[in-house]
């Protein structure tokens, strides 16, 4: 309750600043907060990555498992993205199955990766029609200080780039042995904007999220292609605003990609 009032005051301050084109934390409107990446965070995962974007903290792990293909795509494996807003991450999250916010997050991260064709699902076939790889990407939000979309998408891509394919013997996974890296041919990432009154800011921090009317996430690849879009919340965007966001997304997502490339080199 009291918390709500504090956030409201903070949101008012965010708006005041933005009317002067300033952000409370001093960033330019299209700046990302500083971020760090920790690849291979979990040894039991086949791939994993912890992302800290400002104070937002997200841990993503990948497990590959053998399963039957979907009946309508017998010659394809697939990915499955899950997201859990753990109760560690915020005083308002509660333990329990994913709510609609977590479901939306997981599905948008899924589309950003899936539609970019960074993973060739046909290469995930082990035995056509009966055995394929399923790539489970599970996102755990450990601290929510805003912009879970970009942090999760970055973590998911990091975890995939870090993924080793388990070794198979007689169609069964041999524990702890690997047959090489998962092939990830592109670097699709989400870039998220908040619309606050008439301003648009990139990578909204938590107080900016409390002030925002609408949210726009754009999935892009390094080839300057769009792989996903998602508008959220009760506000609206104009066509010109969206077009501008697309350009910024192409540009600013490269900073995340560079960070990732650096982390991969060690």
């Amino acid at each position: 309750m009291r918390d709500d009032i504090l956030w409201e005051l903070q949101a008012d301050k965010v708006k005041d600043y933005l009317r002067r084109s300033q952000r409370l934390d001093g960033r330019a409107l299209t700046d990302y907060r500083p971020f760090t990446l920790q690849l291979d965070f979990s040894k039991n995962a086949h791939g994993s990555c912890r992302v800290q974007l400002g104070k937002t903290d997200v841990i993503v792990g990948v497990k590959m498992d053998v399963a039957e293909p979907y009946p309508d795509t017998p010659d394809e494996g697939s990915i499955t993205v899950g997201a859990e807003f753990t109760p560690l991450a915020s005083p308002v999250f509660e333990p329990g199955p994913p709510d609609q916010n977590a479901t939306e997050l997981a599905r948008v991260v899924d589309r950003c990766i899936r539609e970019s064709k960074a993973l060739d699902f046909k290469k995930l076939v082990i035995e056509e029609g009966s055995k394929v790889w399923f790539v489970f990407i599970d996102i755990y939000v450990a601290n929510d200080c805003g912009n879970l979309f970009d942090a999760s998408s970055l973590g998911a891509l990091g975890a995939l780039l870090n993924t080793k394919v388990p070794k198979l013997e007689d169609g069964k996974v041999v524990k702890g042995e690997y047959a090489g890296r998962l092939e990830v041919s592109k670097m699709p990432l989400l870039t998220t904007f908040a619309k606050i009154e008439n301003s648009i800011v990139l990578d909204p921090a938590l107080d900016e999220e409390k002030a925002m009317d609408a949210r726009l996430s754009i999935g892009t690849t390094e080839e300057r292609l769009i792989s996903a879009m998602q508008k959220g919340l009760g506000g609206s965007f104009k066509q010109a605003e969206i077009e501008q966001c697309i350009d910024i997304a192409f540009e600013k997502s490269e900073e995340l990609r560079d960070g990732l490339r650096k982390a991969l080199k060690g």
Partner: protein, 257 residues
């Protein structure tokens, strides 16, 4: 082939909508409702509220909650769907409710919920747009004050062509792009926007403009449906007034006698 001559798998032009039929006021127990047929898609939308939001702790003292529930019948898709709501239905419910929020004068109804339920009974691509279009008409039918209707339409790409209102075959093309879109037509503000597929900015822009055009056509159909309804209501009222007039005249006559 030039866009003007190109004919799609179902014979449509690139910028042609499927046939759309909307009938408001079809469910007597709802406060507002609408039935929509959009190509093969069939949906019913019902609106209840504004009514007290319960449990109390979900109430917002500054505005009405917009609670949108999108569901598909088990038999409405090629493979039987589980009766439990899937993650897709949950996501669509969320973004669709958010799309309507800007159009409704939610600030006039603090502490309440406006419940909007849409069920899909047959489908062939574009159901979320059909649902949202019907829901918007059902809101108007319920007499809920709105800034504007919300008109929705998908746009996409298949076989190298930017196309309006893709059907399922087109959604399954190898180069398919699908972009559900909804706007408030008077201001062209975008209230729903999703996209999957892989597309350049140039193509995206073309698709978006097709989409805007589609939404405006849908808007005309919505307005026509509501107008028919009001005229029918007016006719009924007219008849009722005439009947009362007649009773009064009869009464006057009998008094004179």
């Amino acid at each position: 082939m030039a866009d003007e001559e190109y004919r799609r798998v179902d014979g449509r032009k690139v910028d042609e909508l499927r046939p759309i039929k909307i009938i408001p006021s079809v469910l007597s127990r709802a406060e507002g409702s609408a039935y929509i047929e959009w190509g093969q898609n069939k949906a019913l939308a019902a609106v209840f509220g504004p009514r007290e939001a319960l449990p109390q702790h979900i109430q917002n003292p500054t505005k009405a909650l917009v609670n949108y529930v999108y569901r598909m019948a088990t038999f409405s898709v090629p493979d039987r769907k589980s009766p439990k709501p899937g993650r897709r239905e949950i996501e669509i419910s969320k973004v669709s409710g958010e799309a309507l929020e800007k159009a409704i004068f939610v600030e006039r109804f603090p502490n309440t919920t406006i419940d909007i339920y849409v069920h899909i009974f047959d489908s062939n691509a574009g159901t979320r747009c059909a649902a949202l279009t019907a829901a918007s008409v059902a809101l108007a039918d319920a007499g809920i004050p709105m800034r504007d209707l919300v008109a929705a339409c998908a746009v996409g790409r298949a076989n190298g062509k930017i196309i309006l209102d893709p059907c399922k075959d087109e959604e399954d093309a190898s180069d398919a792009v699908d972009m559900p879109l909804a706007i408030m037509p008077r201001t062209k503000e975008v209230v729903l926007l999703q996209m999957d597929g892989l597309i350049s900015k140039e193509d995206w822009k073309k698709a978006f403009e097709f989409g805007l055009k589609g939404c405006l056509e849908v808007y005309e159909i919505q307005k026509r449906a509501l107008k028919h309804r009001y005229e029918a209501l007016a006719r009924t009222e007219q008849k009722a007034i005439k009947a009362v007039d007649k009773q009064l005249m009869d009464a006057a006559e009998s008094l004179e006698r």
